[in-house]
């Protein structure tokens, strides 16, 4: 049997251990600031993509508005810090809670009224836009001008002189994301979530409370995206409504697992890596022109859906399953 990218059980745990070891050693090898920053961005988008993957990949609920959770996390950290002097580490935790609560609220409304498929995607997008407009109009977010987090580089203040500090925070978050996905593949909650993705009515007939499971998934997904948002705020120390709640984040959140493989543990890591390597190459070849990178991402998205709907991870899986399907 050929090696598969879709791992589960024991092999997934070993693979995770391997990723953990590589991840810890990596900053020792990355001498340049450029590559460290590159690794941090890949891990950041892995976390964001994993957040989307929990709801979209495992739960089959495609969100076009993950910026709603991400931006809330980012603003929670930033605003609490700037306006109330609350420590950003505490803000980080609160950002996770905030993202989760926004997820729960949007999920409650959407799932309570039975929105599925494309309608769910559109309504999440609309919620993110509402939050963007509100953040743009409100005074405490700094409005359209944005919020600047004052520079004070101490670890206690969640700002690191050396980027390695940020690296390990986002790496830890990425590992938490992997463990969450592993848990989904090996737990009752995850089994029920995947059953809903495959066929909601059949799942309900077998005693699955679809509303509660979907609500749990979107809350979890929102919390992880909120944590990613808090990290973003601390890393860049600047936020505005478009960065936080704009469609850019929502698109990258879904692009990453779609490229890597939806509903797989390592899909987001794979997708974020591929996406950013391709993006970097494009930048080298064609210059740093505005728009070119995103245009390329768009083409990748179209190509993936057309030719590889199961993502890169699906390539291996498809070859593994095909002979069996044909026999039956």
């Amino acid at each position: 049997m050929m090696p598969s990218l879709r791992l589960s059980g024991q092999r997934a745990l070993w693979a995770m251990a391997g990723v953990a070891i590589i991840g810890v050693v990596l900053p020792l090898l990355l001498r340049s600031d450029f590559w460290l920053n590159f690794a941090i961005m890949v891990l950041f988008f892995t976390v964001l993509g994993q957040a989307w993957n929990i709801l979209g990949g495992y739960g089959g609920q495609f969100s076009f508005g993950h910026a709603a959770f991400f931006g809330t996390g980012a603003y929670v950290t930033a605003v609490l810090q700037v306006k109330f002097g609350i420590n950003p580490w505490l803000g980080f935790v609160l950002a996770g809670i905030g993202g989760g609560l926004v997820g729960a609220a949007i999920g409650f409304l959407s799932f309570r009224y039975g929105l599925r498929g494309s309608y769910f995607a559109l309504v999440t997008l609309a919620f993110a836009e509402v939050l963007r407009i509100l953040a743009n109009a409100a005074a405490f977010t700094g409005g359209g001008v944005g919020t600047l987090i004052p520079l004070k580089q101490t670890a206690a203040n969640f700002q690191f002189v050396d980027k390695t500090g940020f690296y390990f925070v986002i790496f830890a978050l990425m590992l938490i994301g992997l463990l969450l996905a592993y848990w989904l593949e090996n737990s009752r909650f995850g089994a029920r979530l995947m059953a809903i993705r495959e066929n909601e009515d059949a799942a309900r007939a077998l005693g699955v409370n679809a509303f509660a499971i979907k609500l749990g998934a979107i809350s979890l997904s929102g919390a992880l995206a909120g944590l990613a948002g808090a990290f973003y705020a601390q890393y860049f120390l600047y936020l505005d409504p478009r960065l936080a709640y704009g469609p850019g984040i929502s698109v990258e959140a879904l692009l990453v697992p779609i490229i890597g493989g939806m509903g797989t543990i390592f899909g987001p890591l794979l997708g974020a890596t591929v996406l950013h390597v391709v993006g970097e190459i494009a930048r080298k070849v064609m210059g740093d022109a505005v728009g070119l990178n995103l245009a390329l991402y768009g083409m990748v998205l179209v190509a993936m859906v057309l030719f590889l709907p199961n993502g890169i991870a699906g390539l291996a899986r498809r070859q593994r399953l095909k002979p069996k399907e044909e026999r039956l």
Partner: protein, 252 residues
């Protein structure tokens, strides 16, 4: 007779102007195999969907195992021990057979290992041992029907509502599934089934309800129903009664 396990009383359900179920009352007792028959469009599947909580009836009462389940949700009704299968099979296409069955097993077993083990044993009992690691999407019709049954059984129900699990099967496969249903009943699961395969109905069911245009038109033992030529003619067409009786004699 003791209190029935399932007690449907005067249930009504309309879609727009169409009265899909009209004042239907029926009961199923612990340990029985009861069949619900009738021509296409008679409202059988609608009745199942209503009993299982997928549709809210306009009027009536539904009692199950001493609980009033009218207006309850499918998952809560399933947790009480009433599970339905779907006439058009609804496999979780992307999951393996074992994972499919485990979704049902998880109803009463929180642990993944326990659920997978139960899924294994249920799958084997229904003759799916070789298929357990196959993705559900590649299964044959017969295997899908069995999977539908296996998943429902894995919820360890008191009452199983089977919606045409024999449709599309060949005679050998029908004999196999008839034996399975009988074995399931012998282990203490009560069965209410919708079926068009008359031969199977006649040999399996202890009592039969006949539904036509949303209303019950007869109830009785297979022999009584088969003898009720007016009923049989009404929904199987003229002359059907005679053929059925002939079959009945051969089987007896």
């Amino acid at each position: 007779m003791s209190e029935p396990l399932l007690d449907v009383r005067h249930v009504d359900k309309s879609f727009g102007g169409l009265r899909a179920i009209a004042d239907v009352s029926l009961s199923v007792h612990q340990g029985e195999i009861v069949a619900l028959i009738g021509p296409n469009g008679a409202g059988k599947t609608t009745l199942f969907a209503t009993v299982a909580g997928f549709l809210k009836p306009d009027a009536g009462a539904i009692g199950f195992f001493g609980h009033d389940i009218l207006g309850s949700t499918p998952d809560r009704i399933c947790a009480l021990g009433l599970v339905r299968t779907f006439q058009i099979v609804q496999p979780f296409a992307g999951l393996t057979v074992r994972q499919n069955i485990a979704v049902g097993a998880h109803l009463r077993h929180a642990g993944r290992r326990e659920a997978l083990e139960l899924a294994d044993s249920v799958g084997r009992r229904l003759g799916m041992a070789a298929l357990l690691d196959r993705p559900a999407i590649g299964l044959t019709v017969a295997a899908r029907k069995r999977l539908e049954l296996a998943r429902a059984l894995a919820t360890e129900p008191r009452l199983l509502l089977l919606d045409e699990v024999m449709a599309g099967l060949n005679p050998t496969e029908i004999d196999e599934i008839v034996a399975m249903i009988r074995a399931i009943r012998d282990e203490g699961v009560t069965v209410l089934l919708i079926e068009h395969v008359m031969q199977a109905v006649m040999s399996l069911a202890e009592r039969i309800y006949v539904l036509n245009n949303g209303a019950l038109i007869a109830e009785g033992t297979p022999a009584a129903i088969a003898a009720n030529s007016a009923v049989v003619d009404a929904y199987l067409g003229h002359g059907a009664a005679g053929k059925l009786q002939a079959k009945q004699v051969r089987h007896a």
